[in-house]
Amino acid sequence: MAQVFPRRANVVARVGLSGGIGVVLILSALYWVYLRTPAFTGVGAPVAQPVPFSHQIHAGELGIDCRYCHTTVETSAFAGMPDTKTCMNCHSIVLTRDPRLAPVRESFRTGKAIHWNTVNNLPDYVYFDHSIHIAKGIGCSSCHGAVDQEPVMTKAASLQMGFCINCHMHPEQQVRPRDQIFNMSWQPPANQAVVGAELVKEYNIQTKISCSDCHR
């Protein structure tokens, strides 16, 4: 009986096998990299909203405190999204006929909620709590960036697990005095390593991490 495979089949098999493994490895590596690029994480990409709300005007130029709208940030897990009434507190007097605010007036008139597009969204299996971060001296801008400079809200950090873990292992790099938490332009001072370490001690910040801190 004639040989089914020619002699070169050995080479084809060897090259094919190792090549195949190599291709899988390369593709995996590329995918690994892709998962960390803004293309996947959405960092820096502006998110369109039904109302062209500008944090730059409200938080930056007008200097409205974060907590005027995000009312529960100090007391609960969820920072709180402003209800329509909060908008209308001012906009029943200011810019009352501006067409850009039509959806807000519409919502207030009909009682139907405005549907904002989420910018920062964690998976359902992650239980994040704003109040404890505020209490322990982590400022808004540490995760959300310089919101007061943004006409359109963008995601400032990937919010992937590595981002969280990095800070939880080295809180002294990010911790700031409690009176600076809502300061959007706060920058770590030159001696942050020293000040930060002192604050970590003063605020009793834990560096031990457990899975069930966030996943449960």
Partner: protein, 999 residues
Amino acid sequence: MSNLSEPTPDEPAGNAGLDRATSPGFAAPPGGGAPLRLWQSLAELRGESTAARRRPDPMPTAGDRVSREQFLRLMGASLALAGLTACAGEPKGPTQIAPYVTRPEGISSSVSLYYATALTRRGYANGVLVRQVAGRPIKVEGNPQHPASLGATDRFGQAAMLTFYDPDRSRAVLNRGQPSTWEAMVAALTAVARAQRSKRGEGMRVLTETVTSPSLASQLQAFLQQFPGARWHVWEPVNRDNVRDAARQAFGEVVDPRYQLDQAEVILTLDADLLNDLPGSLRYAREFGQKRAVTENRAQQNRLYAIESAPTITGLVADHRLPVRSMDVESVARAIAAAVGVAGATGTLPGGVAADWIAAVVKDLDSHRGTSLVVAGDSQPPAVHVLAHRINEVLGNVGRTVVYTEPVEFNPVSRLSSLAELARDINAGKVDFLLVLDSNPVYTAPVDLDFAGILPKVAESVHLGLFVDETAKLSTWHVPLAHELESWGDARSFDGTTTIIQPLIEPLYGGKTPQQMLAVLNGQPAATAHALVRGYWQQQIKTADFERWWQLSLNDGTVANTTLPPRPVSLQSTPAPAAVARPSGTEIIFRPDPTIDDGRFANNGWLQELPKPLTTLTWDNVVEVSPAMAGRLGLSNGDVVELRYRGKTVRGPIWVLAGQPDESVTVYLGYGRTQAGRVGTGIGYNAYALRTSAAPWFDGGLELRKTGDTYTLAVIQGTQRMEGREIVRAGTLGEYQQNPRFIQQHVTKLVGTLYPPFPYTGNRWSMSINLSSCIGCNACIVACQAENNIPVVGKDQVARGRHMHWLRVDRYYHGQPANPTSYTMPVPCMQCENAPCELVCPVDATTHSSDGLNDMVYNRCVGTRYCSNNCPYKVRRFNFYQYADYTTPSLQLLYNPDVTVRERGVMEKCTYCVQRIRHAEIRAEVEGRPIRDGEVVTACQAACPTKAIVFGNSNDPNSQIAKLKTDVLNYDLLAELNTRPRTSYLAAIRNPNPEIKVE
């Protein structure tokens, strides 16, 4: 139990252990005392091969829906994805946030609010605090300020949440089965009322269940005044007619006995499920448990004797249990009454009852005058209750362990005669209009009344109920009832304390309250439920500031000064009633089902899947027979028998139950529903088909015939046996008093480890479970299910050993099958410090937290199940299929938002309610203080009626848990494995009478 009752001089403290001699890790106890042999099932006791009888392993088998190829494909896919996407987060999807237009004050999507209200069971209120998140009710907790709850809940209270969100609840008004409107119904009712006015309402009837609602009772009185010819009937299938009739006989008036178990040292029950099935049982169990727990400061215990037919939870925890047929309880009660010195009482003991047993009980009662208590069961005839009243009187217990009050309910008529009268009137053509308020007589009425046959004779019948049930199908109108969690109302508890029921949410399906139905008849069809209840109380409470009173009553969950005070009663001098002719032949006993009650919870999957406390059976009712009878008739578990009684026949599967009296057969009501819903329709057999008004509780003359068919029963018992190990450690109070450390004598001494111990410097979360206090009521299991989004898997999956309960309650027997001693043992995750599960996880999905919790990370789990295989306690549960419901809209609202809803292919287990721990930690840290002892309460602990479960930080030397961990009764389960469990047990201490010999 030789070494428990007869300590040998060499070994005064022999104690529990499972066949220690056969266990490789143990030496035989010194002194030659026979080891205590515990058994879980009769098959195990008989020594049948456990391998052969063991349930199949919970692994996919040929019969499963997943083929081999599918399995490999799925596994390959999940492995490939698991490695790549881990921890990278989810791709950005088009998610949206819809904030309020005007946010209500205090409401945030992540803040829990608690509202005090009440849930009723058979009319009696248990005070609860209901957790509400973002406007939807999530979880029921007990109200510590409410006298019937004291913070605890029963399994029905915990499961109320699922009934509330039940997708099968009725959603629309029906007229002869066709969708209609509330307005049309109001018009029809108004027309009826107008037509009846000229006849003084002669043709009008209202049928309710037990009414303890002051506002509804007042409306019913107003209705009867307006229509003097109308009648108010009351029906409750599991009723207390015997208690009321006995009160009339004994005192000449209806009074409610109320027990004070905190005063009772010696308790005797006569076929009474005192700790489980009476109004007030939650409180009774608390008081009983507190006198049950042995501490170093209090080496005392109460003593419980149970004389009973069908085994109950009360009998299970009794120090001495005497199985007696229901029909023989009266003779025993007479003999005891005679011996105690009740005037005129005579009696001879039925055959098989040891006279010295009775003599010892009588002596014990006699030496505890004023601190003893005799309780007769609701199913026993009035004569037994009268005897109990007289015995309590003679023993000087009245006013101390038992007090009498005005009746709590508003129409204390005999349920049976009330319903029979209604049936007579319908048959006589006298009834033109019948309003049925939340009752299901077509299913529950005695079979001889033939309610299904006569209800269509009523020209206009209106049914108000949560479901379109058997009665709704035969009524001309059906109106959806508003669930108690969405209603305004009021109800009294066992001691009269009134609670205003307040809604947690607007009625989901436009349901109406009973008050609103009555208002239609009383000419106020537009009145809101809120206005009716508030209006009633505004008339009652003459206070300058009613608003303040109202808010205070709502806030507290109790209305001040409504507890009924004890009142003096005088026993009629009439002699004790003569014995009624005792029925002959094999006895049939009717009992409400332990988990779905009289059938009203048939569509509640949590309660269907909750193991019945004594059999660990799920999803079915059985015909219970004694081991001896089963032996005579050649019956074993699952054999289908035909029951023939008074010309009716029913077929059901056999369960051989240790402790069931011989020649006595128990059947359970509540199954065999035809209109229960997608869960409860068509499962089990209908025992109501045998129940007549002549003998609603027990009777002789049952014929039992083996059919040769067999039936698969889904039991949890035996699937997780812990063979040959020292599991439940038990002993007697006498042994404890001699040597408090006796339980520690056979504890394996560990040789140590090569590794340095991990220093747990912060919080060290630990749990202690007191096996002396645990009564095995299973409320903790439902509480855990509700808190942790645990799915229902169905009978087929339970039968394969795949039930998902994070907490199970094991039950062990000791002694002779005819009358064994029983122990129950709740087993949650042990949270081992040296956790075997963690070592074998290939993807680090289960890891140790810095405070010592054994964390389970669902989003890492790839479903190898290695952890479950390596868990010596078998507490891990695997999602073999997509058990969690992702699609039914109403069930999405049920989920606790603090706990992940698990997917198929993921392992899960008890987390010590880590969401509660982390929440408390965050609150304490935000407020800059340490966590207070008792601030973290796990769901099982909160529900426990007897406070058997204690949780806390054992690093805090002042905490309750730290003290319990150093208690002499503290022991670890399977400590010899060096797992260092965080959950530990306090050994079960019983207080048997040394004068009674137990074989």
